[in-house]
């Protein structure tokens, strides 16, 4: 491992942490300017002004914003995400199960979609501008163009209603077996795969085609290598960083952006939890979920950057 690589990687990590800090500021400001009043929504329309004032004081809402920010940040750093205003439960505890569910769904979708997208991308390059390429492009573009909630209902209609292979909701409970879990997430996974496939597949195709113009690809051809061997062994290693970037972006989307799909399939993940509590003005919960989403996003993108650095032979093996 060279000095340059260590320096660049530590820069990325430091930048990621800085970004996370900036994200906490944004999340806090965002929740402060959220319209509505927590005390009001807890006590309802008929609450007396005295009761509202008491509750605000008890919740610490009268403190200056800066103090509240730092005490929230300090607690969050120690793993204490606070208690939900609406039901008084510890947020970290209620989130952990849901986060697991969301990560499980995301992981399943990733395991299906990433290899599929890269394989389809390679296939599209191999048969560039011929019918397999055009068909792959047409189908993946069609699926990405349909809004995911419509896609969700279409899949539900065919798989659950017409064919009756699977139940129409994807409820998972802690006591379910692994197999049952897979069955439950099958439909959301199909929808998520449709949503992220096109982006990753097209990026793989473009990145490899870009590399295929290089003189060293001609060298490989003149060595008598087969077309697929050239693509997989000579073009792919040089196309890794753009591909990893788009894969990580989509992984982040699978964790952070599944809100709609979770709601459609009534899947008990982070997205549903977030939507529920935004409507209830439960600020600590919104902050906590926002923080986790931001952390996941930054973590994945920083990982992509680090992989891109490690994949560059010029940085890995300096002169």
């Amino acid at each position: 491992m060279s000095f340059v690589v260590i320096k660049l990687v530590s820069q990325r990590i430091a930048l990621g942490l800085l970004l996370l800090l900036a994200a906490t500021v944004l999340i806090f400001i965002g929740t402060q300017i959220l319209p509505g009043d927590v005390a009001q929504s807890i006590l309802g329309q008929s609450a007396t002004p005295e009761a509202l004032a008491n509750l605000r004081r008890d919740l610490g809402l009268n403190e200056p914003a800066l103090n509240r920010y730092f005490s929230w940040l300090g607690n969050a750093l120690q793993g204490d995400l606070g208690t939900a205003l609406t039901n008084g439960k510890d947020i970290a505890e209620s989130i952990s199960g849901r986060l697991n569910n969301t990560l499980f769904l995301a992981a399943c979708a990733a395991v299906v979609s990433i290899p599929l997208a890269i394989f389809l991308g390679l296939l599209a390059v191999r048969y560039r501008n011929r019918w397999p390429d055009k068909m792959i492009s047409a189908i993946t573009l069609a699926t990405i163009s349909v809004p995911e909630f419509i896609l969700g209902y279409i899949v539900m209609y065919f798989v659950a209603v017409k064919l009756q292979w699977l139940p129409s909701v994807a409820i998972v409970r802690p006591d379910m077996s692994v197999f049952d879990r897979f069955e439950a997430v099958a439909m959301p996974v199909i929808v998520l795969t449709f949503v992220v496939l096109a982006h990753m597949m097209r990026m793989t195709r473009a990145a490899i085609l870009n590399v295929m113009e290089s003189a060293y690809i001609e060298t490989a051809e003149l060595k008598g290598l087969s077309a697929f061997r050239i693509i997989a062994s000579h073009a792919m290693p040089n196309a890794i960083s753009p591909i990893v970037n788009v894969v990580m972006l989509n992984l982040a989307y699978l964790v952070v952006g599944v809100v709609v799909v979770e709601v459609v399939f009534v899947y008990p993940g982070m997205g549903q939890y977030l939507v529920d509590h935004v409507s209830k003005r439960d600020v600590p919960v919104v902050q906590a979920t926002g923080l986790i989403f931001a952390a996941v996003y930054i973590l994945l993108n920083t990982t992509a950057d680090i992989i891109a650095i490690l994949a560059n032979p010029r940085l890995r093996h300096p002169k």
Partner: protein, 544 residues
Amino acid sequence: MSELLRVRDLKIGAHVIPPDGDPFDIEIVHGVSFDLKKGQVLGLIGESGAGKSTIGLSALAYGRGGVEITGGEVFINGSDILKDSLGNLRKLRGHVVTYVSQSAAASFNPAKKLMNQVTESCIQHNLCSQSEAEERAVTLFRKLGLPEPETIGDRYPHQVSGGQLQRVMTAMALCPQPDLVVFDEPTTALDVTTQIDVLAAIKEAIRDTGVGALYITHDLAVVAQVSDQIMVLQNGNTVEYGDTEQIINRPAEAYTQALVSIRSAEHAEKLPTDAPVLKVDGISARYPGTKFDVLNDVSLELRPGQTLAIVGESGSGKSTLARTITGLLPQRSGEITFDGRGLTQTLAERSKEDLRELQMIYQMADVAMNPRQTIAMIIGRPLEFYFGLRGSERDKRVRELMDEIELGPEFLSRYPAELSGGQKQRVCIARALAAKPKLIICDEVTSALDPLVADGILKLLLNLQKIEGVSYLFITHDLATVKSIADTIAVMHRGKVVRYGPKSQVLSPPFDDYTDLLLSSVPEMKSGWLEDVIAHRKMESAGN
């Protein structure tokens, strides 16, 4: 000796898709025939567009880009490979016939170790085991004079120099022990002092392995060193085909004679005259963020109406000197005096007069022009900018300039893409002249051009100097060019001027070591030159 390659009436076409308009087909090679016996070398020579690379690749039945072999026969070891299926061609490529390209730097996969790439053909064609292939590779590395032959294969392409990479590529081509190697300008991108070593290594490898070779180049002096026969090509036709000795010493065709006797541009050295137009005094410069002086205490003078040639290899700092004089790279110390007045370090502080009187012409004429402007607009722009000429006045001056660069008025409405390389360079010269400069910096202006075209440009520059009295700071790596154009010469090496003076003095003995190396490395058009130089150098190093 048995026959290795027989090409009969080879026709090659290209499918052209212009940016605007309908695609069309053109023929670029019009029926070429030749033979090659085992262990022999055939030189294919010609200017760009002659079709020599295209013919070379036809020995692998390969067409680059939209190029396609449209007719004729290519026999390798008696069978016509143009009739082969793609599967059979894959067995031929990288096994029976291999290829060495001009730019080894671009032709190696940057993500893979050299050894993997060198042995890949052997493994692909099941010729031997990985360890056997690596043994072969190390033997070849040693034979080709590469440093640390046992371990150089563990490096990545960016970790070795250009000359070494070119030798590794030769090893890659020889590793599967082919019958035929196609060398496509293997030394063109190298410095002269590196070229000579690579050339000697290639020649020795060809002799020791008994492989047949097609050697493609535009440099007759280079091909004279390695080939048994030479075929001269022009615009996809054979001009002359015969033994090397006959082609160089008794060329029959006018075109070959022109190629042999290139560099007719000549002029007598002018004597030092009045005050210098440019005085560079003790300049040192480095690029931002580096700790290394690219220019180290450089002092030079250039007289009005004369030419100062800066000669050096890549990395000698000659282009950096031009950047410092033009203000693109501020110097760290030293002074530049232009026409009696001091020049500011940075471009932004210079007056319009300074900018006008100091013009530049570049190596790559096509990227130095806006592709969306006509020639009239390109040449007219400095007239508007510096002199405020408009309308008919400007058009009249543009026509005068076109006369000076010997291009007809029909070019005025054309775009740069419609011009040849030499014509583009002429337009760049006219654009520089339009500003009525006192000094023109010419940065490798003939390096990208074919020898005959380059010769025309040099003659034009000399002629314009006579008429306009303009001075040239002429930067080049090519000593032959220097001989024809310079009055004063400065030889640069690693950021320093190692030899400086009037042309007659710089090019006469006694030489310093570096100038001697540089001068003796320029290929000469006689057979046996390469062996003489190598033998001479071995003797000298033994003497030391």
